[in-house]
Amino acid sequence: MFLLRLTKRLLLMLAVIFTAASLNFLLPKLAPKDPIETKLLELTETGGALTDMKGLVEAYRAKFGLDRPLAEQYLSYIKDTASLDLGQSIAFYPARVTDLVGRALPWTIGLLLTSTLIAFALGTVLGALLAWEGAPRLLGLLAPGVMVLAALPYYLLGLVLIYVFAFSWRLLPLGGGFEMTAIPGLRWDFVLDILRHSLLPAASIVLASVGTWALAMRGMMVTVQGEDYMAYAEANGLSVQRRFFSYGLRNALLPQVTGLALHIGYIAAGSVLVERVFQYPGLGNLLFAAIQQNDYFVIYGVVFILVVMIAVLMLLVDMLYPLLDPRVRR
């Protein structure tokens, strides 16, 4: 059962990645004039300094040019993409897109994973407590605030946080991944510097998404509390903690994990914009810079890697499922 499910999910993942790669190939072809070729020609005509641009145009023509049938171009493109050869940057020629993306990826993954895990854990427990009768009354006062925050896009909350904590109070840096003057290295002060810079971007993702998880969990917990096994557990005299965690939370958690898998794309897209707002040196900022400079290969490269990352994360969350639910293990 589980193996079949896993195979299905793997196939779906490959289909999504394949579609993303094909889209990157086809879209510029659909436009009346190939935007990439136009841009490249423009650069060779105007950019005196970029003498080597001719080489890039030749390479592009050879790979995508009209002299070869479309099917052949497509095949070689897919082959290159599968071996993670994403071409070369136009703006930073001859830098390879794979290297640029590789440098930015750890920042994105670090920010995305930590803030999502924190938000998910906090929101789930908060939501469960909101539906629990014995929970402290004070939590109920927290609920409306958290819900309103859930209405905001991450980056908008990010702008508010920058304004308050970095612009008005000057407690934290305005943006960036680390101080300009800092020398990167595995030292305590540099690590602290990175943490200080990631605090606001992470906080904007956590604060803006906690409410979503809390709301969903509260609904599930209400349903679970009506189940017979909850009454049975109480009749057996199990402790409140045991009933809350092992009987209530554990069962209400399952749809919540499905929700996590479904939301990863949304969270990743949101964090791309957060990176842009904070000039955080991850994929979002790279994407923004590439869009500014019409650096098509970098745009497509970043989007492709993000799609792959989201697909892989979704698969990982899906594989968590049997750990939580003994019924699907069979």
Partner: protein, 273 residues
């Protein structure tokens, strides 16, 4: 009447009122660059200040709110229209039509919409305009409505009054438009608001990434210029506070209306308060 719906409608109503009042009192031509001194704090002449390109921000915010609403409404309406049609086709027709539509929706919902829109928008060779952006966003705006409305139609199809109508010999179209549509209205309303909200979210996102219409001062473009021109470093607080406040009010308002309508449409949710 529930409180959330009321609060949301009040917030959105306030924004509409402000936009209308602004349109009557502010010279909207001042939303163009170089119509005032650059980077001025709020004053008698420019009550909301100006930006670094010399746009009067009062005019920018009025025009921006209207343009952003236009993008959201256009994309949202197309999304709902296409979504409702597909949902009825899938749920009412059933069989392979349902399977194809449901599969397409399931797969497309896992794809991060904003990223696809980035690829599409960046491949566009000409100038970006608000109308064009709405159409691009509409390409993906039908996914959520299709899924939501399909589920409702599936439930409704088995309802007593629909069976009654079928037994008494009414045609499919008559059943859909006379029996089901009126009962779907609260759901359609909630779906429309969340679809408009999602479209505005996508448009502001695209604009913040620099893919928006450079000649039209939407709210997202205002955010884009504000960040690109370093409003934080230059200390131009009014340029930051004003568009962010409007966007916050807009998103919170739409969110409250969506939850409120949901409560209205699903009486079961009321006990969760």
């Amino acid at each position: 009447m529930n409180r959330r719906l009321l609060a949301g409608l009040a917030l959105l109503g306030l924004l509409v009122l402000l936009a209308c009042l602004g349109a009557l009192t502010v010279d909207l031509d001042d939303a163009r660059p170089l119509s005032a001194d650059v980077a001025q704090p709020p004053s008698w002449d420019n009550p909301l200040g100006t930006d670094t390109a010399g746009r009067d921000l009062a005019a920018v915010l009025v025009v921006g709110t209207l343009l952003t609403a236009k993008v959201g409404l256009l994309a949202g309406l197309i999304g709902i229209a296409v979504g409702t049609t597909l949902a009825f086709l899938a749920a009412y027709h059933g069989g392979w039509v349902d399977r194809v539509i449901s599969f397409a929706v399931d797969v497309l919902l896992t794809v991060p919409g904003l990223l696809v829109l980035v690829v599409i928008a960046s491949a566009w060779p000409g100038q970006m305009t608000t109308t064009l952006m709405a159409l691009v966003i509409a390409l993906l705006a039908w996914r959520e409505p299709t899924r939501q409305i399909r589920a409702q139609v599936l439930v409704m199809r088995e309802a007593g009054y629909v069976r009654m109508a079928r037994l008494s010999g009414q045609g499919s179209l008559a059943i859909i438009f006379q029996e089901m549509m009126p009962n779907l209205m609260p759901y359609l309303g909630a779906a429309l608001v969340s679809s408009v909200s999602a479209a505005i979210l996508a448009s502001v996102g695209l604009e913040a990434l620099g893919l928006g219409p450079r000649d039209e001062p939407t709210l997202g473009m205002t955010i884009y210029w504000m960040i690109s021109e370093g409003a934080f470093l230059r200390g131009l607080w009014w340029w930051i506070v004003e568009p962010v406040t409007i966007l916050v009010a807009l998103f919170v308002g739409m969110y409250l209306v969506v939850i409120g309508l949901d409560e209205f449409a699903n009486p079961r949710l009321r006990s969760l308060k």
